[in-house]
Structure formats: C-alpha cells, structure tokens
C-alpha cells in the first residue's frame, strides 16, 4: 500500500474513530515521523491529517459521550473533562502516558469495592458478574471498538443536558435511573 502523502510504501497504518466513523491513514516511515505521529501525544493526529473542512467541529471531532469534552479542548488544556474521557480519548493515550510515567499500568492501591478485578471504566462491563476475592491479574483493557454510547453514559449525557436546560424533574429521574444501573460502592 502506498503512503497517503508521498509515493513510498506505507508501513504505518493508523485508524481513528471520530464520532463513530472510521478514518484510516496510511503512511511511510518518513512521513509518519514528519507528521509527528509517533510523537508524545498522538492527539495531534486528527489535526495533522484531516483537512480543515473535515476538522470542523460539528462533524469530525472526537467528543466524550459522557461530558461533551472535545479532543481539541483536551489538546489545549492538557486535562480531561470527566473520568469517562479516559475511555473516549483512549486513542494515543498510552504513548502520552509512557512519556509521563514509569509505566502505563496502575500497580498501586485499589478500592476495596474493586477487589483487584473488574475494570470500572466501561459501565456496561460492570453489569457482568463481579468476582470477589480473586487474586488473578486484572484483565486487559477492552479492545478498542467504535465508540458506542453505553446506556449509562447516554443517560449521563441526558442528565447533563437536563441540568443545563434546568429540567430538574427529568434530571432527578435520570439520576435515579443511573444509580439503579450503576449502584454506589457498598458501604461497610
């Protein structure tokens, strides 16, 4: 396969999911370096390859389903909008973390409610049976899949909207629904 930029053979293939649409970029080694693909953040990717028209905010930007935070906001302030953002912006995250930290996997304290297993990041996985008292290593992060709003994050987005529009009755209902689907950690 040819590089999208020059005529050389492509060796770097990048797939990004932007608002549920898959965008693939093929590059040769030289161009991938020139475009900074393998660099620290990886967040500059969309900017490096998508034409200005494609980049326009309304259509192509990665947005967190839970809080509405955008990739360009992340790039600008270097901070996430909400805990779910780590899932929404997981593309390129490992590279960023590798530059920042000793490793990319947490090995420290875990909340008792997590019990050393059950990834908490994806709400829909939490409905699976949570094994208790297991010493098996934590399962790997789920394979990145096209962003699919989970029930809970959809509800949360609705909740945010309801709060923004000051529809408090709706907000209360949504909040109750979220709590039902995602119960709080059991209190001792």
């Amino acid at each position: 396969m040819k590089c999208d930029v020059c005529e050389n053979e492509a060796s770097v293939f990048l797939t990004q999911i932007i608002n549920g649409q898959m965008t693939t970029v093929n590059l040769c080694e030289g161009c991938s370096k020139a475009k900074g693909v393998t660099e620290e953040t990886g967040f500059g990717l969309a900017e490096a390859f998508l034409s200005p028209a494609q980049r326009s905010e309304d259509s192509m930007e990665v947005v967190c389903n839970a809080c509405g935070f955008t990739a360009s906001q992340l790039k600008k302030i270097g901070r996430m909008g909400c805990p779910e953002c780590y899932h929404s912006f997981r593309e390129g995250l490992d590279g960023l973390l590798r530059n920042m930290h000793k490793g990319t996997r947490h090995v420290g304290k875990r909340p008792a409610s997590v019990g050393g297993t059950a990834p908490q990041l994806l709400p829909r996985q939490r409905t699976a049976v949570v094994r208790e008292e297991t010493s098996s290593p934590p399962p790997p992060m789920p394979v990145p899949a096209p962003a699919q709003p989970s029930d809970v994050s959809k509800l949360r987005a609705d909740l945010d909207l309801a709060v923004k529009e000051e529809r408090y009755e709706d907000a209360a209902k949504l909040k109750a629904e979220i709590e039902r689907l995602q119960p709080k950690a059991p209190s001792k």
């Binding site: 839970a66 809080c67 935070f69 906001q73 302030i77 270097g78 901070r79 996430m80 909008g81 909400c82 805990p83 780590y86 995250l93 960023l96 973390l97 920042m100 930290h101 000793k102 490793g103 990319t104 996997r105 947490h106 090995v107 420290g108 304290k109 875990r110 909340p111 008792a112 409610s113 997590v114 297993t117 059950a118 990834p119 908490q120 990041l121 934590p138 399962p139 790997p140 992060m141 809970v152 949360r156 945010d160 709060v163 923004k164 979220i178 995602q182 709080k184 950690a185 209190s187 001792k188």
Partner: protein, 374 residues
Amino acid sequence: MMRFATLIKNPADWMKGAGPHSDIVMTSRVRLARNLRGFPFPGFSQERQRVDLLEQVRPVVEQLPEMRDGYSEDYTELSKIRKQVLVERHLVSREHAARSSGCAVVVDRKQSISIMINEEDHFRIQGIRPGLNLHSAYELVDRVDTELESGLPFAFDSKLGYLTACPTNLGTGMRASVMLHLPALVLTEQINPVIKAVGKIGLAVRGLYGEGTEALGNLFQISNQHTLGEAEPEIIAQIEKVIEGVVRSEQNARAKLKEDHQTMLQDQVGRAFAILRYAHVLSSKEALNLLSMLRLGADLDLVGNCDRSLIDMMLLEIQPAHLQLNAARELSPDERDSMRAEITRARLQSIDGPGSFPPSQSTQGGLPSAPNDE
C-alpha cells in the same frame, strides 16, 4: 466544628513536633487526588454541578472520625486574606484558594490532614508530618481515603488506576513531597549539582510554595513526578532514599562550613540576628533569608537559647496574609515590611545574641565567594 480563629491560634502538629532529621527536613507531605464516578471534573463542570457535589460530599468528609472537632469552611464564607493564610500554612493549594463557589476545605484539629473539595480534582486529601516521615504521612491519607471510598464511588479503572483531571496524576493520584532547609549547600555553592542529580532520577525540585515559586529562605521542595506504573510504597521509599542522600550532603556541607569557614559562618549568623532583632523595615525575601541563617545558627548551637520552633513559627508569622490577619485589615507592602520587622524585633527580644564557636585548632577563613550579601 472549630472556628477559623481557633484553628490559626494553635500551631499545627508539624510545627511543634520533631521528626527524623527535622533540623534539615521541615515537613513531609503526601496528597491523594480522587474523583467521583459520573461527575465532570471541577475544571469542566458548571458552578451548579460543583455546588451540588459539594453539598453531597461535604457531610461525608466532615463525619470522618479524623475530622471530629475539626475545621470546615465553604470558600464563599472565607475572605481572600483567610484563604491566603491557609495557603501559607500549607493546608490548601494556591490554585484552590483562587476558587470560590462550590469549594470547601476540611481540616482536622491537629492540622495534620486537610481535604480540599473541588480543587483540580473533586478531592485532594493531604497529610503533613514533621521531619522526614513520608510513611506516616501516607498512612494518614491512606486511612482517610479508605474510609471515604466506603461511602463514595471513586472513579477507578483497573488499568489506569484512580482517574484524575490531569493525566500527570493518573494511577496512584499520589504526590509525596518533602520540604528541605539547605542553607549550607547554598552557601558552599553545591546546591545546583544536587538539584540536577535529583531531577535526573525523575523527581521535581521546587521553591517554598510549589510550582513556579522561588527557593526563598533556602527552602526546597522535592516531590515525585511519576504516579503511574509504581505502587505507593515504592514511590515513597525511593523519595526517602533520595532525601537521605540530600540530608547527608547538607550535613557534610554544614560540617565543612564549621570546620573551614568558621568566621564567615559566625558573621552571617550574627548579622542575621542583628538585622532581625533591630531592623524597622524588612521585605519578605530579606526576612526569609535572614531567618534561614538564624535557623542554621540555632542548628549549629551558635544561638544559645533559640528554639527551632520559634524560628519556624516566625517563618509563618512574617508572611503577607498572616501579617494582615494579625492586623485585621489589608496592609500596603510598605506597611507589611514595617509590621514584619516589628514581629521579628519582638520575638527575638528574649533570645541571647549568637556567640562564637568555642576556640578550636581549626583554621579560620572566609568562603572564597560568599553569596547572599543582603
């Protein structure tokens, strides 16, 4: 709960107590960043969301056994000066003090634990101990964190750990930092290689009040930069090991000063005392540097009846917000400089002036290029 006046009237536990190496290590602090699942981080939430969150979690924090009879305040109830006093006491961060609606701080009665609500993260839990004692500071915050997590759903991911607003805090969410007083390394011009060496192992060196502040009064903060990929005890053990090394360097530098540059040392300490004791105008920078020399003199038994904790208390009292709180009004910089001198004059009244080292066989001589000639 405790009133602000009561909180400030009492010296914190870490100011009274002594810990390992407390002649060189002033404090050990550990803070944990925690967030609630399902809520946007404070920097990306609306005021109403922050206020809602605060209302929900503040009672939970206040009811912690550690916080019994503690101090708890909503920032909308606190004046600018009072918030700044909390910053000068290291109970809240400068960033947090700059915020208002939806923010609060809860402090235990010994001022060993403070919990900031809606800082950059929903919770910043801090523990502070005298001397080199990061272990014990971590035990404090670890216990509080475990208690809080039984009632609050913290955002945690199996791979990434505790999820924080800034990816630099991801994982353990833990920042362990140590405040060091290193006058001899500065006087003997060995401080820069030490800072460089510490930086190379991935630790950060900063001034008195954290990020971007100058190292006034020969005070330096050393803290970890990595929070992901290592467990809390490993991070703490590594920092303590590095600090032990810095402490040894400072001890050696002090011994060298005492041995080879006695006259210069006695002169610096004597001048510091004289100015603090008799001056009528003192800038913050000058006072901090002079107090640093006086503290060094006290550590080396040059200033007979001067207790280190008296000097450490003065280090707080002479800072801008403490001065203004004491005066019960806002002060212009000129007024502060004269008020500052009034305090050091009064506090040193009962202290005998510094003497000389007992005569010894050691050679006397000045430092080739003595810096700090204010």
